[in-house]
Subunit: 272 residues, 2 copies
């Protein structure tokens, strides 16, 4: 796939930018955005070709904001990519580990390295994002640490004091590639939909039955509250297959008639 | 219910403390803890009678950390309480709204007031918790704002500049009361369980079928990643009924034999 421009959230060196390069190849032009919402908007307004947003982390779970934005957008998920998250402790060159008292990073990165940080007795300060805290360190010449990727260290000229400081090595983040048009079937696809059930007992069970009865393999289900109606939920469901597959389109047709709301978020090649 | 001591996360004036008072009455002795984990530990180690932790917010969704801790604990959920979240903009007495440039609060509270803050062009700084940012304001005599409850304003002697600044008025947080022993059936109960499905297509659908086929009303389902095995999930499920009800105990027995893991978190009176 030859892409020209892809927006991502965060500063240069963010894991999202790495995901964009993995998916589109090294020649892609990546455009940093401050918020997830700006990533969606930049694709909607056609100022970029694609956007890339994290959907879930294998330790911390779903990125709620991405799901809430997916509900509202007309964009389609047209790809997924899984990035191995390998956190490093970075400092301004010349800072020794003994001089580091506080460590800056995104709250999720701090959480993923909690064991390492606690063992060294380091204080943590939550920051806007991982690469952003690396950038701030060099700009302010702080005698502190930042948790970010090795790539962030290269970009900002920081020293890698320690590599792979995450508590669980099996740490992956899955990203969605957003675009304005659908991708056709490859034979090894995944489809993402969101629906709201009706207020009858067993309605979620019945909805999932439309997939199960057709041997469609459910790979993820995520519930998000419906704003304005407490204790009611939208269900984001991923399953194997493309919406153009006869059994998938049949299941979606059946789901449409038995749910209160259904929206197809996209069908795209599986990354597993 | 006459309780002696209840631990909660945050500083005095936190919504969790309000939840404790709503559930146990005004004479309860509330004990602040720094982290959710400390709340669990204080009940496990019997240094308090009960603990109270948020489980979900009607706008922002589940509190992931609570669910991750519920998976590991031997404690039982023995109650639930729903608190209307009504955020206020607080300042040190004498500070006018024109002098406020930055606002401190918990990231979720900042998110819930994003519209209000944006309209006034206020910069936000994430803090450890809502009441904690109110406390810091008075301790440091900062010319800044904090978002917290009206009760926090009373406790710390702050001025309420504006009440009800949340973007959606239907803003509730549900809390779990944790204890060391079960509560018996009241006839209007809820049961919380967590299970992991087996790796066969339709396994979640089959599991939910054990509830649906017995007319047991599912009220919430939440998936959380299983640490160490990426893209596999535990399912936290709430449904109506008490584990001592014949049809509930029958459903649980059936679920135990068809799931890879099942744990009962507790049966408790419904708060709706």
């Amino acid at each position: 796939m030859s892409a020209s421009t892809v927006s991502f959230q965060g500063e240069r060196g963010a894991y999202s930018e790495e995901a964009a390069t993995m998916f589109f190849g090294p020649n892609v032009r990546t455009i940093p955005c401050r918020t997830f919402k700006e990533v969606f908007q930049s694709v909607e307004e056609k100022s970029v070709d694609y956007g890339i947003v994290p959907s879930e982390n294998s330790l911390e779970g779903s990125i709620n904001q991405t799901y809430d934005l997916l509900l509202e957008t007309l964009l389609r998920i047209r790809g997924e990519v899984k990035v191995r998250v390998r956190h490093c402790l970075l400092t301004v060159p010349g800072t020794s580990i003994e001089e580091v008292r506080v460590v800056y990073s995104h709250p999720q990165a701090l959480a993923q390295c909690a064991g390492f940080l606690q063992k060294l007795g380091l204080e943590t300060i939550p920051a806007y994002d991982t690469a952003g805290s690396a950038k701030m360190l060099i700009e302010k010449r702080l005698k502190a640490g930042a948790i970010a990727s090795e790539r962030a260290a290269e970009i900002y000229g920081l020293t890698v004091l320690k590599r792979g400081i995450e508590d669980f090595p099996e740490n992956f983040t899955r990203f969605f590639v957003l675009g304005r048009v659908d991708v056709s079937s490859t034979g090894k696809d995944r489809t993402s939909i969101v629906f709201a059930t009706t207020h009858t007992p067993g309605s979620l069970h019945n909805a999932l039955g439309e997939l199960a009865s057709r041997q469609i393999n459910l790979t993820k289900i995520e519930s998000r509250p419906i704003r304005g109606t407490p204790w009611e939920y939208n269900f984001f469901v991923d399953f194997e297959g493309h919406e153009s597959d006869p059994k998938v389109s049949e299941a979606i047709r059946a789901l449409r008639s038995s749910t209160a709301m259904l929206k197809i978020l996209g069908s795209y090649p599986r990354a597993d």
